[in-house]
Structures are given as structure tokens and as C-alpha cells.
């Protein structure tokens, strides 16, 4: 049944305008039976709007949708589902207290005796579906008890159960571990083998090259091109996405390390439940070098950073900044001692989204002159400085009085970076500074970190992306179960570090 040439879906000249922005500008897009068609673009390029149009969530201002040769008009997701389109959102829409099977059949429940939910039938049907496509998940398990990767499978099953043969996956790997992402790709391939069409939305180049048959690139609401995977390169795709050449590899000179700026001795940290998360970590960072902490998520990196920035108490050990031991370890002390911190979750911690950019940029020194005198805030001064920083750090999408929540992810991160660097910290701790950013913004952050290091600043980078660690670090520390299990010079092999990250070789580093 898999006719790999037939076009099952066509979007023609889709245009959607929002006040001040054209989200999609006459975009054409088509999908064939049994293919994976990737939709690639930076945040705000118009991918989500296009898919919302396709899924009936947004009405386009212009353009038409053709499904299997027939012009259709969707006024709700229900119409799209009836036309055989299914969507798996980036944020799952499952009911945690219900079972997998109950979630899947929700809204189209099989009924027994005309009234009662046929639970057996539902479970049976879910089992059949999951076997057919290799989507292993226990139909009787509660959704709240299964992993994120499994929840995603439930979402896919939900779409399949409703008869979808065109599946939209919106940034499906954003929430997955690398292992789970690998399993997802296997599922996508098996769906494809069965003749399903998949629209794969992403801004990660390597993923797209791995899974897609064709790739369409959007930039600022316009379709740049649609190309086959064969012959596509990361470099070429990045250029299409951003509109200029992008440095995917970081160019940097040899480091010239100076004095020790951050000195950590035998640090122990526990979490809320009293479990040891950091178990006796010692290391130092010198001015003019980037030291990276590599490791799989959940091996104590978060707690390490929180302890170093005063957001979590130390269970034992000492931290010295610029040669001085600290009296206490509150956030205030750390900030005043010269610790700059780009937090791993900028939405949760790095920014007050309801504050203006001017207020956000002053988050650490709102109470210091000239921002404030004797407890009186100087809004004018905050705005003046914001104007200056917005220009200096090229923050786009708003002025000093724009709310931080209104900016794109990349520009929000620039606000955080601008705030931390403008304080001229002795050491900059960057925790996953490029998480969720698109190619252009990643390049910016990387260049900026290297520039700071070249200017003599000490940088501690904590990242889950091994690529990032390898391309930026002058020294690499590998963390596993709360301990540093390896130390490497720049240029260490990926395999060696990867093995240590998984606990393959245990040792206590000096």
C-alpha cells in the first residue's frame, strides 16, 4: 500500500499574519506517502504556525490545504483528525491519573453494552497498535508513572488510534535523552515502513539529517527551499536557516591560564530529600581558561552549580573565589564575591518574565548605586543602562520596557548573558547556556564564552552536550554519580569521555 511517490498532503501559499509580524508568508509544503519530511527553522521561523494551520488550530489568512487531492478547510483539530492528520505536541496533553489505554481512547472510547467503557477492548486495541509499530508501552500503566519517552509514545499511539496516517511531530526530541531519541527514530522508521507520512519539526541539524527524506527550511516566515537529504550538509542547512554562514565549530586560540580564580575543595551537596548528590568534588578554574563539566543529566551537575552560586547549601567542603575563602554561601555572598551565573533554566530562574528588560538586567544590582540610593530605585537609570546593554549585546525584539516574556528564547538568553557579563564577574558559571537555542544563538553564546576566556576570565561550563564540551573546553571534568571520575585536556576523544560519563571507569581525580 505504500506508494512512495503519491503526494498525500499539500499546503499551498499559506499566509498567516499577526499584528506586526508575518508568521508565514506564502509557504508551500507537501508530504508524500511513506516519507519523513523535516521542517527546519529557527525559533520564530513560522514552523509552529504552519503546523497549527495544518492541524486546524489556526485559520490561515490566505492559502489552501489539499489532502489526498481534495481541498479542505479545517476549523478545528477535530476536522484535521477526521482527515487523518495527527499531531504530537512538544508538551504532552495527557491526563496523568489515567492509564495509558484510557488516555489513548479518550474521546473515542470503545463502549460495551451501549454505556460502559470497554476497558478490555481498549487495552486490547492499544496492544495491537503498539505491537504493529514497535511502540512498547504497558496499556494498564498510569501515565504519571511512565517516563517522558513512554509518554511520547502514548501521544503517538493516540494519534494512530484516531486513524492518523499523517503524523506531525513537533520538536519531538527536545524532551528526550539521547537513548530515548534513538528509540524514537526507530519508531519513526517503522511508521514510515508502514506507509505513514511524518512531518518532523526540528531545529537540530544532525537529527534532521539522520531521519528525514526531504527537508524544507523556513526562515522568517518564508520557505527558503525543499531539498532531499542526499547531498545536504549541516553547514548548508545552517546557512539556509540563518541566512548567512554559521560557524558550527568554534575557532579559538591556545589558552593562557593565569591565577586560580575558583577553588573548590571536597565539596559535598545533598538534595531536598537528604540524598548525596555531590560527593567530595575538588577542582579549580584559572583565569583565561574554560573548564567544562561533562556528564549525563542527573549526575550532580545541577546541585554542583547551585552550591557554587549559593542557591543550595553546602553539606561540606569549601569554595574560594579569587583566593578568598567565603564566610557564608548565600546567593548574595556569591554574587558579591564575583560569581556570574548563566542558569540552566532561564525561564524558571534566569529571568522574571513579567519584569521589563530594564528590571531584569538589574536583577543582581538593583540595590546598588547608581541603580538605587538609600532604598529608592532609579527607574531612569535602569532604563539608561538597559538601552546601553541592549545595543552592546545586540538584544532584539524589544526595548528596555518590553517584558522579558515577550522575547524569543535566543534573545532572552542574550539578556541573561548581558546581565552576567556586564557585572564583570571573576568567574562565569555557564550551565547549559545553549539549551533550547537555535543555531544562530548558539554560535553567539559560544563565541561570547571564548571571548570572555580570551579576555582572561575564568569560565566554568556545565553541559550535557558532549559536542559543546569538546569544542569549547580547555580542560574537561567528567562527572558521574556526584564524583569527578576523569579529567582530560582539550582534544580528548569522544569515546573515552563518553565511556566515563556512563560510569565505565571509576576513579577519583585530584
Amino acid at each position: 500500500m505504500a506508494d512512495t511517490t503519491a503526494t498525500v498532503l499539500e499546503l499551498r501559499g499559506i499566509t498567516k499574519r499577526y499584528p506586526g509580524v508575518v508568521a508565514d508568508d506564502h509557504v508551500d509544503f507537501d508530504v508524500r506517502a511513506g516519507e519523513v519530511h523535516a521542517l527546519l527553522g529557527e525559533n520564530g521561523a513560522g514552523k509552529s504556525t504552519l503546523m497549527n494551520v495544518l492541524y486546524g488550530l489556526t485559520k490561515p489568512d490566505e492559502g489552501e490545504i489539499v489532502v489526498r487531492g481534495k481541498r479542505v478547510s479545517f476549523s478545528s483539530a477535530k476536522d484535521a483528525i477526521e482527515a487523518g492528520i495527527g499531531m504530537v505536541h512538544q508538551h504532552f496533553m495527557l491526563i496523568p491519573v489515567m492509564t495509558v489505554a484510557e488516555n489513548i481512547v479518550l474521546g473515542v472510547e470503545p463502549v460495551r453494552n451501549g454505556l460502559l467503557l470497554d476497558e478490555r477492548g481498549a487495552e486490547q486495541r492499544v496492544r495491537e497498535l503498539s505491537q504493529q509499530f514497535g511502540l512498547t508501552v504497558d496499556p494498564t500503566a498510569l501515565v504519571s508513572r511512565i517516563t517522558v519517552g513512554q509518554q511520547q509514545r502514548v501521544e503517538i499511539l493516540k494519534a494512530l488510534y484516531r486513524g492518523a496516517d499523517i503524523l506531525i511531530l513537533d520538536e519531538p526530541t527536545a524532551v528526550l535523552t539521547p537513548q530515548e531519541a534513538g528509540e524514537l527514530f526507530a519508531i519513526v522508521r517503522s511508521l514510515k515502513a508502514d506507509g505513514k507520512s511524518i512531518i518532523f519539526i526540528s531545529h537540530k541539524l544532525n537529527e534532521v539529517l539522520e531521519i528525514a527524506d526531504r527537508i524544507t527550511v523556513l526562515r522568517r516566515g518564508k520557505r527558503i527551499d525543499t531539498i532531499p537529504r542526499e547531498g545536504a550538509t549541516e553547514q548548508g542547512l545552517a546557512r539556509m536557516m540563518v541566512g548567512r554562514d554559521v560557524l558550527l565549530r568554534v575557532d579559538k586560540a591556545e589558552p593562557s591560564p593565569a591565577d586560580v580564580v575558583l577553588d573548590v575543595r571536597d565539596l559535598h551537596v545533598v538534595d531536598e530529600r537528604g540524598l548525596a548528590k555531590v560527593r567530595g568534588v575538588s577542582f579549580s578554574v584559572r583565569g583565561g581558561e574554560i573548564v567544562a563539566v561533562a556528564g549525563v543529566d542527573g549526575n550532580g551537575q545541577t546541585e554542583l552549580v547551585e552550591a557554587l552560586t549559593g542557591l543550595r547549601p553546602l553539606a561540606a567542603g569549601t569554595v574560594a573565589v579569587a583566593g578568598r575563602e567565603l564566610a557564608d554561601y548565600t546567593a548574595r555572598t556569591m554574587i558579591d564575591a564575583g560569581v556570574g551565573h548563566i542558569p540552566e533554566d532561564r525561564l524558571r530562574r534566569g529571568l522574571v518574565l513579567e519584569f521589563t528588560l530594564a528590571e531584569n538586567l538589574a536583577l543582581h544590582d538593583y540595590d546598588k548605586p547608581p541603580n538605587a540610593r538609600r532604598g529608592w530605585l532609579s527607574p531612569r537609570r535602569l532604563v539608561e543602562r538597559a538601552v546601553q546593554l541592549i545595543r552592546e549585546f545586540d538584544i532584539r525584539g524589544g526595548g528596555p520596557l518590553t517584558l522579558a516574556g515577550a522575547l524569543s528564547g535566543g534573545n532572552q538568553q542574550k539578556v541573561v548573558v548581558a546581565r552576567e557579563l556586564s557585572r564583570n564577574p571573576a568567574i562565569l558559571i555557564a550551565a547549559q547556556p545553549t539549551r533550547g537555542l537555535d543555531v544562530g544563538a548558539i554560535e553567539y553564546v559560544h563565541r561570547r564564552l571564548v571571548a570572555e576566556r580570551d579576555a582572561g576570565r575564568a569560565v566554568l561550563l556545565v553541559s550535557l552536550e558532549l559536542d559543546e564540551v569538546l569544542s569549547l573546553a580547555d580542560r574537561i571534568l567528567v562527572m558521574y554519580e556526584g564524583r569527578i571520575v576523569g579529567e582530560h585536556a582539550a582534544g580528548a576523544s569522544e569515546e573515552e569521555i563518553g565511556l566515563e560519563m556512563l560510569g565505565g571507569r571509576r576513579q577519583v581525580a585530584a
Binding site: 525559533n43 514552523k47 489556526t58 546567593a331 524558571r348 518574565l353 529608592w376
Partner: protein
């Protein structure tokens, strides 16, 4: 929210805003429209109930309007007949407004710090009690110091009372809703004991009467509109207006206000910024209690002069602060306007109402109903905004249909 920037965000730039962010954005986007719509809807619903009881809603509302003295604002200067009663009614409305502004601010301020203060009533009573004690006991003092001492002591007492809830939250994580409710009961029973028979603050002239002593004339806040004998409007009204300005300045022009707002919006980001979040909880509650305590002092020194055990039991005004703050969106201007609205409603449906126009017992219930409806509708802000947007969308769609 005094200077909210216009927000025109296409949906895809906002990846997945949380509920609080959406609510915040919705409230900002709604601007003035939503609270006004909320009040109008509440009045409409109230009118339907009035009609259902066989009365004319228009006459009823006109009666309340006149009862609140609002007609004085539109009076013809030479019409001395009506102005006399209207002026008196309006002065009484403003007297109630004074209290409501302050108990409203007592809810609004901690709200901006992410705290829900249900303890306005208790803090108000504590202020009332302390002001009574100062007013009775320091009778030899000259007027100005005596009044200031009463106000100051009551304000501090209210701050301490609410500060307890803040401290409990900071030290043990005890939820402020629970602790302020319990502190209300302690204040209520404490007041009944203190003013009751044999209580330390009971009056000295009639041991049979369970009520406080009467404060000395030196502790009276002078009246500037109306007769001092007939409960005229005292200068406390201006203190309440000043409190609105103080509230705004405190929140928007001081480092403390910056900290309070940061904690209210995002405690984690505030902690990351170096702000001592727990300390802000205590400070925000203390400031809140100061407003409520001040309300108690102004009432006691302005026109109550004494208070009985039955009054303690019957007093409800502190709770009304919640509705005032909610309708006023926890802003200074909003709280001021909402307090005036509720002040008029409260007085206009009770003593100010002409019983021949509308039965006061029904009218009093109408106030409670409108109050309840407003709280309900404010809680349903998003729903109202949704209706608003749906209407706009429908119009756009119709226009689109007309052009194609």
C-alpha cells in the same frame, strides 16, 4: 502594572507559557476593560435577582446610588433641599471607603509578593484594639501626639500580627492562608476577652456592659466635613489616600518593592538574583498588617471611639478587603476605585438607603451578592477575557466573510 508595555506576541514566540504567565498576560491585555466588565456583570446579575423578587432593578439601584450620596456629586449648588442629606450620605460612604482602601491594600501588597493575606480582618481588629487602649489610657496627652501615638501603635501592632504569619511561612513553610485565618480567630476571641466583662480593656463606668472604654477627646481625629457629633468625615480619609500613594511608591520606586515584585512573579529567579525570599515574605506581610492596623486605628480614633464584644463578632469589613483588592487588580489606583465602589455599595444599601424606595434587608443581601459575584468573576478573569476575544474573533470572521 502601572506601565505595562503593549504586548503583541505572535503565539509561536512564546513556547509554552505557564498558567501564571498566561493569567498575567491576560490581565495585562485586558487592561481596564476586564475589571469594569466584571463589575458591570456583577451588577447586572444582581439586577436580575432584584427583578426576580418583583422589584424594579432600576429603582433599586437608583435608591442605592442616592443612599451612597453619589447624587451629591451631580447636585445643583443652589438645591439646598437634597444636598444636605446627600452630603451626609457621601461623607459616610467616604468614611467606609477610608477603611476599605486600607484593608484592600493589606490584601493587595502581599498579593504582589505571591502571598494571599486572608488575615486583614484580624489585623484590623488588632489595630482597633490597640488604638482603643491608647485612646483611653493616655488621656492626659495633648491631641496631636495622642492621635499619632494611637495610629503608630495600632499600625505597628497590625504589622506584628501579620508578621507572625510571614514569619511562620519563612521559618516553617506554614501556608499563610491557614495561619492568617487562625490569627483572625485569635484576634476575634482576644478582642471579646479584652472588651468583655472583667476584661482588661472593658469600660470602667458600666461593668455590666461588655464593651470597651470610650477614647479620650484628645485622641479623636478631627472632622473636616460634616458635624463631629453626627459622625462627620475625619482627616483619616486623607491618610488613606496617602496610603495609596505610599503603596505605589513602595512597590514601584523602592528596592523593597522591586524585591517584593520579583518574589511575587518568580521566587526562584528572585533567589537567584540574591534576594532573601523568606525575609521578603515577612516584610510583605508586616507591611500588609500595617495597612490593616492603620485602618483599625483610623476607624477607632475617627468615629467609632469605642467597641463592644458584639461589634467584634459582627465586624466583617476586613474581609471585604479581599474583594476590593481583587477588583482593583492589586494596584494602587484600582484599589482606590474599588474601595469607593464598595464603600458606596455598603453604605448605600444599609443606613443610607431610603426604606420606602427599597427594603434595606434585601438591599444588604444585594451587597453581599454583588461582592460574591465580583470575587467569582475576578476568579473567572480568563473566562471573561475569553468571551471578549471570542466576540472580537466573531466580528473579524464576519468581516472576512463579508469581503470574500
Amino acid at each position: 502594572m502601572s506601565a505595562a508595555a503593549p504586548l503583541n506576541v505572535p503565539p509561536e514566540q512564546e513556547p509554552s507559557p505557564g498558567f501564571a504567565v498566561r493569567l498575567g498576560a491576560a490581565q495585562r491585555a485586558g487592561g481596564l476593560i476586564v475589571p469594569v466588565l466584571t463589575a458591570v456583570l456583577a451588577f447586572l446579575a444582581g439586577g436580575i435577582v432584584v427583578a426576580a423578587t418583583g422589584h424594579n432593578p432600576w429603582t433599586a439601584y437608583k435608591g442605592i446610588w442616592d443612599g451612597a450620596g453619589f447624587d451629591w456629586l451631580f447636585h445643583i449648588p443652589w438645591d439646598t433641599n437634597t444636598t444636605h442629606l446627600s452630603a451626609f450620605n457621601l461623607s459616610q460612604t467616604l468614611l467606609t471607603t477610608t477603611t476599605l482602601i486600607l484593608v484592600g491594600l493589606a490584601v493587595a501588597f502581599p498579593f504582589r509578593c505571591g502571598l494571599f493575606n486572608i488575615g486583614g480582618q484580624g489585623q484590623y481588629l488588632v489595630g482597633l484594639i490597640v488604638a482603643n487602649w491608647v485612646g483611653v489610657d493616655f488621656a492626659s496627652w495633648p491631641t496631636l501626639p495622642h492621635v499619632l501615638l494611637g495610629i503608630g501603635a495600632a499600625t505597628v501592632a497590625g504589622a506584628v500580627w501579620a508578621g507572625i504569619a510571614g514569619f511562620l511561612k519563612a521559618a516553617t513553610g506554614a501556608h499563610e492562608v491557614i495561619s492568617t485565618i487562625m490569627l483572625n480567630w485569635i484576634a476575634i476571641w482576644g478582642g471579646q476577652y479584652l472588651f468583655g466583662q472583667g476584661g482588661p480593656l472593658q469600660n470602667t463606668y458600666n461593668p455590666a456592659a461588655p464593651e470597651s472604654g470610650t477614647i479620650a477627646p484628645s485622641a479623636h481625629i478631627p472632622v473636616f466635613w460634616g458635624s463631629p457629633v453626627l459622625q462627620g468625615l475625619d482627616y483619616g480619609f486623607f491618610v488613606a489616600l496617602a496610603a495609596l500613594v505610599v503603596f505605589w511608591l513602595l512597590l514601584n520606586r523602592t528596592t523593597l518593592g522591586y524585591e517584593v515584585r520579583a518574589v511575587g512573579y518568580n521566587p526562584e529567579a528572585a533567589a537567584y538574583g540574591g534576594i532573601d525570599v523568606k525575609r521578603k515574605y515577612i516584610e510583605a506581610m508586616a507591611i500588609s498588617g500595617a495597612f490593616a492596623g492603620l485602618a483599625g486605628a483610623l476607624d477607632m480614633l475617627g468615629y467609632l471611639f469605642q467597641f463592644g464584644v458584639l461589634d467584634v463578632q459582627a465586624s466583617q469589613i476586613g474581609f471585604l478587603g479581599i474583594a476590593v483588592a481583587l477588583l482593583g487588580r492589586n494596584t494602587a489606583i484600582g484599589t482606590g476605585i474599588a474601595a469607593f465602589l464598595f464603600g458606596g455599595l455598603l453604605y448605600g444599601t444599609t443606613r443610607g438607603l431610603n426604606p420606602n424606595v427599597f427594603d434595606p434587608s434585601l438591599a444588604g443581601n444585594l451587597t453581599s451578592m454583588i461582592q460574591g459575584l465580583i470575587v467569582l468573576f475576578v476568579g473567572a478573569d480568563i473566562f471573561i477575557l475569553y468571551l471578549w476575544n471570542a466576540r472580537r474573533k466573531l466580528r473579524l470572521r464576519r468581516r472576512a466573510a463579508a469581503t470574500t
